[in-house]
Amino acid sequence: MNDTIVILMILVPALPLAAAILAAVLGPRILRSRAHWPVVAAFAASFLCSLSLLVHAWRQPPGYERVESLWVWADIEGAYAQRHSPGGADQADSAGVMRHFTLDVTLRIDTLTGVMLATVTFISLLVAIYSVGYMRGDPGYWRFFAYIGLFVFSMTMLVSVSNFLLLFVFWEAVGVCSYLLIGFWYRKPAAAAAGTKAFLVNRIGDFGFMLGVFLIWTTYGTLNYHDTAAGWPSVSARAGTERPVFVDLGRAAAGEPGEVVGVLSVKRESVGGWRGGGVGLAICLLLLLGACGKSAQFPLHVWLPDAMEGPTPVSALIHAATMVTAGVYMIARCAPLFVASPDGLLVVAGVGTFTALLAASIALTQFDLKRVLAYSTISQLGYMFLGLGTGTLAGMSAGMFHLFTHAFFKALLFLGAGSVMHAMGNVIDMRRFGGLRRRLPHTYRTFLVGCLALAGIIPLSGFWSKDSVLFSVHARAHEMQVHWARRQAAEERVSSGTAGSLPAAGHAARGEVEAGSGMSDGELARAARLYAWMYYGALLTAFLTAFYAFRALFLTFFGDERLPGEAADHGHESPGVMVWPLAILAFFAACVGLAFDQSWLNGTHPFAEVLADTPSLSGAVARTETLGSFHFSVAVISTICAVAGALLASCFYLGDRRAAAWFQAVMDFRVLKSADDGARIARVGQQPWIQAIDRAARRVGLPWLTRLAGDLLIFTMLVITAPLLLIRFVSPYRLSFGKFFLDETYSLLVVRPLRGLAWLLDAVDRWLVDGLVDLVGQLPSRLGALLRTMQTGLVPFYAMAMILGGLIMLLTMNQQFSEQVMLYLHRLLGGMTP
């Protein structure tokens, strides 16, 4: 049985890799338009393996994990690591210890990994089937399937590995696949630029992630998630020559002597727990930076909308359903590290909320259907971060649950958008088509399901997962408030001296697991307030989400039927190979929420229960009573928000769109346009009563007075209108339509200065360094040029040179000879001229 599990664990990533290699090798010549066969078959098999793994992990007792080491990648004796004493920062911190660094390629299975594997492979399978129709006839057909095979390999490895360094490796591999697929149509400059942008923006996040991994190594002395025997499974240990490995940090008090306790292991609790304070916060923030890059959170989200340049199945697979969830997965996996640092959690939640709001408000005004969905993805990822940022088991599982449902409905929406694109001849601008309801009936129906799910309308999947997130945030805020109030009461009691029975009350009340234990009163109050604000932000986002989802739906499928010119001959429904995945996804998007969240029915939340079996989650995250409970008022409020958004969208975009135009004008401050209208201002001077005053003043003999008054008036007008003009440029509509000008800001603050620096360095390199090198290179040839004129090819000249040279040699080198010659010449001449 166990061996079967290991084989399945290996097969899940290995099959897509093999299929990718097969498609790449045989694709261009032999398989051609059948290049999808190995990939689709491998994905299907991989999905079955993942499913059986998940079921296996589910059936095991809670805390089950299976770790299988495949081979040793690196084995370094005496790697340096900083000593860390769990007690805190003291002089022992400065002393370094030599540590055995073993890096083995290890796969793991627990419920978190199982859920991720099943989701990834299932969505990939459907997207691959869909791509068979969508990519048909593309010259890079085999290339596409090779890439997505490679991508699924990387992603499954990313969630399977049990080591931070390997996580980083596949983190990068996923990034590479994303780059390849965004720039799939590399002849299109926009696609190539978008690929580069995604890669570069991700690089910033990866840098943070890398630093985070380094910090984990110096802090915890190992990079493995799991426990390992010291020196095992190093080669030397296997060969039987046991070497003493100096391990003090990971020595488990309860565990085996010489055992290295993994970073995320349950046993970590017994050796001092996870590090909080400055180092813990730094680890959290650096990991969060990496997650922000991969999952497109606020400062680093700019790459995702541009990534829509890739083929639509790629957008569905990578930039909606699977790859961007790597950051969410990573934070869920590192939950103990984050829970140890409440400030880090607060930052995660804050970033998530802010991104959710920001992206949702941008999505309101975009006209590119895929771009609306891209911003929606960013926004929904923000929800997931918010859920994770609560730090409770309910919140963590809610974030993961939202990831799970979002994968279905966002893949569905993207594939629907792809189906629209397919029919509209690659036109995706919603202003150019409309009323496609009758032409694309299946696409319309499935898209509707996706929109309902995205908007969070009961009882579709999006409702349940979003509600879980909202509820967990609400519960967290509430819990913290209650705790704070309790502390206040306790302190009052202490100060009034009535609570002698409560020694060191308030702060020391740590026996029970309470929210925010270990935080000061001020911090607790602040965190409670922030979480409450985040809750309201998330509610607002829910409203905005419903609005833009239905706006996209109405713009695309309702109203008068309009087709762009490009769709002239193929404005019809997509083929079955594209429609069936849509239908399956629509089914799941409608049902998974209901199936996995039965809290309203009997207070169970199967998804959360499954996730809670993950050792790192169950070991470190406080299991509060909120898990699996259903809060009726939160559900009602969020439903009201969503329905309000949907209704507003239907008011604006169903029927004539005058209301929408009016609202747009209001939001664009069109009223202010008259303020800076020059002709209008000039006309003011023509008013009869002003003219009358002017005439009267002239009659009195004070024409300068009216002129002065007029000048003063104009000056005042200018002073008033200048800010108004500025305000018009930052009107809500413009901000939203211009994506808050973040791209422009980055261009100004980062890209331009860097480009200037690059130009400078290029000039220095080209002119200074290259100049010096060229100078050295030219020196011989310049010197040779001086002598070159002597090579005339004339024999008499050579003879002359030879004779003169011989003479000079004789005269200079043989002094005796030269003296004799001089003497002889002297005698000869002397004899001649006495």
Partner: protein, 150 residues
């Protein structure tokens, strides 16, 4: 007495040898006709041979004369090869001017070019006849410069 004579004799021979050598060298340098240059080389060899013979006489030693025999042998071989080459050269270009063979010059270096040869007059140049008044005949300056019969 004898010694003085011997020394004077050697001195004279060496002077003659030197004159021969210098004449040959000068000729080799200033003439451009291959055959004349070859002959000049021969003359230089003769100057050396003469001085060898003189030294051999002075030292009362046959070595010098043996060296001469060697020189003659080598010179005859050299003459055979050189004349063959000269023959080939003249057959290929119809010219014995050494300046025609400038192919070994450096790339980019302009070849040495004589001024344009004047048109060969068809009629045979008439032998100058002193005019009655004893005036000097007209001499073509170009003709003199170019030495068509080098």
């Amino acid at each position: 007495m004898n010694d003085v004579n011997e020394a004077a004799l050697l001195h004279n021979y060496l002077l003659v040898g030197m004159v021969l050598f210098v004449i040959g060298m000068t000729g080799f340098l200033i003439r451009r006709n291959l055959i004349v240059m070859f002959l000049c080389v021969e003359m230089m060899l003769q100057g050396i041979s003469l001085s060898l013979a003189a030294w051999g006489r002075y030292h009362n030693d046959w070595g010098g004369q043996m060296m001469i025999l060697f020189i003659i042998a080598v010179a005859s071989c050299e003459a055979a090869i050189a004349l063959t080459l000269v023959l080939v050269v003249s057959r290929r270009t119809g010219n014995l001017d050494v300046a025609v063979w400038q192919d070994l010059r450096e790339e980019g270096e302009l070849p040495f070019v004589d001024r344009e040869l004047p048109e060969e007059t068809t009629e045979r140049p008439q032998s100058p006849v002193l005019p009655p008044a004893g005036r000097q005949p007209d001499v073509d300056e170009d003709e003199l410069m170019h030495r068509s019969h080098v």
